[in-house]
């Protein structure tokens, strides 16, 4: 028998509520879900076959939906899709061995949701705007190199240098936007992770861990930032289970 672990849940006030909820939630491929508990921590599991689940996108989406439903009622740590153990006893032993770490992580995400913020831009338009602004401020062409005798190699270096300077300007600009976002998030006491220039059109890809009750405040903050940066497109999503803030490696 193979058992897939879906998530680890904090059930400090007893597992009755969870057991009741699991009666109405089916696992992937319609399997029944049940819990394996140890001192206020429950592993939600289902008897799925490993061979049926590998690389199946539809099942992965179904898995995310189950985690999503449970996260609306409990503080939880999502498990990596496709986490299997041999038996309920092995899961109980895993909970025992990792109890302290799991408990600490559950404490960290208690009553919190994850939110995602992607900042999009038209990179060519943005680069051109930054270049114009810099030239206006300095009174010189930002990309222009010192005038020297013409040679094809020198021209090549000049072109590369211009691209390099523009990229540095872009990085400074992204940093300034991150500082602006950070300043607001600090007021909300949100934990955050930023990825700069994730792709040509995503200037900033970030996730926040925030108290559930502060959701509306976060939306207001992002609206304010959008007003501050009309050249960018802010897209805020959530609430999500805390996928990006689980820092436990199960032993």
């Amino acid at each position: 028998m193979e058992i897939m672990i879906y998530t680890l849940i904090s059930v400090k006030e007893g597992s009755g509520k969870l057991e009741k909820l699991l009666l109405n939630i089916k696992g992937i491929s319609g399997v029944a879900l049940y819990s394996v508990c140890l001192n206020g921590i429950a592993a939600v599991v289902g008897e799925n076959k490993k061979s049926d689940l590998i690389s199946d996108k539809a099942n992965a989406i179904e898995f995310a939906g189950i985690i999503e439903k449970l996260s609306q009622h409990f503080t939880l740590l999502p498990m990596r899709y496709g986490s299997f153990m041999e038996s309920a006893d092995a899961i109980a032993l895993m909970l025992e061995r990792n109890y302290q770490e799991i408990e600490q992580n559950l404490g960290k995400v208690e009553d919190k949701y994850e939110f995602g913020l992607k900042v999009f831009c038209d990179s060519e338009k943005l680069k051109s705007g930054i270049l114009q602004k810099t030239e206006a401020e300095t009174g010189t062409a930002a990309g222009a190199a010192t005038e020297v005798k013409y040679s094809v190699f020198r021209e090549y270096v000049n072109a590369k240098l211009k691209a390099h300077r523009l990229e540095e300007l872009m990085i400074s600009y992204v940093d300034s936007v991150i500082i602006a976002i950070n300043t607001q998030l600090t007021l909300l006491q949100a934990e955050h992770k930023f990825k700069k220039m994730a792709s040509a059109s995503i200037l900033i890809d970030s996730v926040f861990l925030l108290e559930k009750r502060k959701k509306d405040e976060l939306v207001d903050v992002i609206k304010k930032l959008q007003g501050q940066y009309p050249e960018l497109d802010f897209v805020l999503t959530g609430p999500w289970p805390p996928y990006s803030f689980v820092e436990t490696t199960i032993k």
């Binding site: 190699f153 270096v157 300077r165 059109s201 897209v235 805020l236």
Partner: protein
């Protein structure tokens, strides 16, 4: 993603849709080494690493040029070297029938290599 998961956006979700579309094509940017394509797969892997190093060298060189620590002659020689390296890379890509996109491996959560 369900509609109610979008808490704020400025109207059009075209950019987001495009990015989601790109995720679907990530499979194409992964290295696929099989017994049948060992030669081309290995060439792609090696050229990806060479291109990464070439770009790092170029970046560092531009930092030095920008910092003003090189003489005109040194810049001239640097230009010649970088230009020849780029041309050689183009030749190799053509030889192995590879494009710039082929050499930009997707590293999953870390994003694209270059």
């Amino acid at each position: 993603m369900s509609e109610n998961k979008i808490l704020f956006n400025t109207g059009s979700l075209d950019s987001l849709s495009q990015e989601i579309g790109k995720l679907a094509s990530i499979e194409d940017s992964k290295l696929k080494l099989t017994p049948d394509n060992a030669d081309s797969g290995l060439a792609k892997l090696v050229l990806t690493l060479v291109e990464l190093i070439r770009k790092l060298v170029e970046k560092q060189a531009m930092r030095r040029v920008d910092g003003g620590s090189l003489t005109d002659d040194e810049i001239e020689r640097l230009g010649e070297t970088l230009m020849k390296l780029e041309m050689k890379m183009e030749e190799l890509k053509k030889h192995f029938n590879l494009t710039d996109r082929d050499l930009n491996i997707n590293l999953g959560p870390l994003g694209d290599l270059m």
